[in-house]
């Protein structure tokens, strides 16, 4: 447990200093844990929104990652965001959920290691972005293009693509929120 804390904190610290690969590792490391939390709580929901909710939580973590102080433990921060967004997501889907913080410890101990089908619906939301933003999101997220390449293709500077992607991430979170209401 303490190893996990140390590892996650180191990754997120590097991520906040601009290390994208450390950040990807951090997100990959926490995703199964988030999935375990959401799935354990989400049995009562119709359909299987687990992956949608996991993606909502990941977006929130991303957009609020500057609220983590790197001299503080990372897991209480992470679970506070997760709890907030999960409660929100469940409420938006018409379900109440109780998420006492003690539960996280149990769930952490029993994280399923199999990977689910991952059928989230961020893609639907990408359709609501304005066309150029959607193109950037598809190029980088799905086609695996880099910023320089995407910039050349869209006649934008690399910096402009970076900023456009950042805005698109914020917009995606907003769209999800509105979609829920």
């Amino acid at each position: 447990m303490t190893d996990q804390e140390t590892e996650w904190a180191a990754l997120l610290r590097a991520a906040n200093a601009g290390d994208g690969r450390a950040y990807a590792r951090f997100l990959h490391a926490i995703t199964p844990v988030l999935r375990g939390i959401v799935r354990a709580k989400g049995r009562a929901l119709r359909g299987d929104p687990t992956e949608d909710i996991v993606q909502e939580v990941l977006l929130a973590i991303h957009l609020k990652r500057h609220t983590w102080r790197d001299d503080c433990p990372v897991r209480p921060w992470l679970f506070a965001i997760t709890r907030h967004k999960v409660v929100d997501a469940f409420r938006a889907r018409g379900a109440q959920v109780q998420l006492p913080i003690e539960d996280f410890a149990d769930i952490l101990a029993a994280v399923p290691d199999e990977d689910p089908t991952e059928r989230g619906d961020a893609l639907k939301m990408i359709g609501h972005l304005e066309p150029r933003a959607a193109e950037i999101v598809r190029a980088i997220g799905i086609d695996g293009a880099d910023f320089a390449e995407t910039g050349r293709r869209m006649a934008m500077t690399e910096g402009a693509v970076r900023v456009a992607l950042h805005r698109a991430m914020k917009r995606l979170a907003e769209l999800r929120e509105r979609h829920m209401e």
């Binding site: 906040n16 601009g18 994208g20 690969r21 950040y23 990807a24 997100l27 990959h28 995703t31 992956e51 996991v54 993606q55 990941l58 977006l59 929130a60 991303h62 957009l63 609020k64 990652r65 500057h66 609220t67 983590w68 102080r69 503080c72 209480p76 921060w77 679970f79 506070a80 965001i81 709890r83 907030h84 991952e118 059928r119 989230g120 619906d121 961020a122 893609l123 990408i126 999101v137 980088i140 997220g141 799905i142 695996g144 910023f147 970076r162 900023v163 992607l165 950042h166 991430m169």
Partner: protein, 211 residues
């Protein structure tokens, strides 16, 4: 979209956001300064300002709301972290309240009872009750705008603390003008004006600080 694709996107987005604690002074202080400058250029500072700032009773008109301003704003910043639970520093707030209460009690002791009502009434209740909230409104807006970048899980309390902080700062500005030096007056009406902004912050917090 697969979650892995989303992670690829998020990891690619390295545009940094500034921290709430860094942004708040940058946004709040200029707005307060402009609001205060406009207000004081119209209505003026008190003529004996230098003496009032150092005399024990009148300096309380600056020190007490100033302390509330700091406690409110720094508390709101603490709460902007999702795991933040320690925004309300109750003990410090109680010390400020106790000092104010002690000043009231002391004034009641040295004033004959027939003078109490006049002391509370003063002669500028309305300007006081209108000016402080008016002065605090724009700074409160600036504070809330910055706090939206945070991730509070206690939006009502965070909003209230932002209101208290903005109200405290606005009261310090108002005190530069106000010549009502009876604690019965300023504890009552400054306090009420501060409470109004605190209540406003609390009422808009849950909506404005949603994320």
């Amino acid at each position: 979209m697969k979650t892995d694709d989303l992670i690829t996107l998020l990891a690619a987005d390295a545009v940094p956001e500034r921290r709430v604690g860094q942004m708040l002074p940058i946004a709040f202080l200029p707005v307060l300064a402009v609001a205060g400058a406009v207000f004081l250029s119209i209505i003026g500072t008190r003529p004996d300002l230098a003496a009032a700032l150092v005399a024990p009773v009148t300096s309380a008109k600056f020190v007490l709301p100033g302390a509330l301003g700091l406690l409110g704003l720094t508390g709101a910043v603490r709460l902007s972290r999702p795991e933040g639970r320690d925004g309300l520093r109750l003990r410090a707030l109680l010390v400020v309240a106790a000092v104010a209460a002690a000043m009231v009690v002391w004034t009641l002791m040295i004033t004959p009872p027939e003078g109490w009502a006049a002391g509370v009434r003063g002669s500028t209740i309305l300007p006081c009750l209108l000016s402080i909230p008016a002065l605090g409104l724009m700074p409160l807006g600036a504070a809330l705008l910055v706090l939206r970048r945070g991730a509070t899980t206690m939006p009502r309390l965070a909003g209230a603390l932002a209101g208290l902080g903005s109200g405290g700062a606005a009261t310090v500005v108002y005190a530069l003008h106000c010549t009502e030096d009876n604690p019965l007056f300023f504890v009552t009406w400054y306090g009420l004006a501060l409470l109004a902004l605190t209540a406003l912050g609390a009422s808009v917090g849950p909506r404005v600080l949603r994320w």
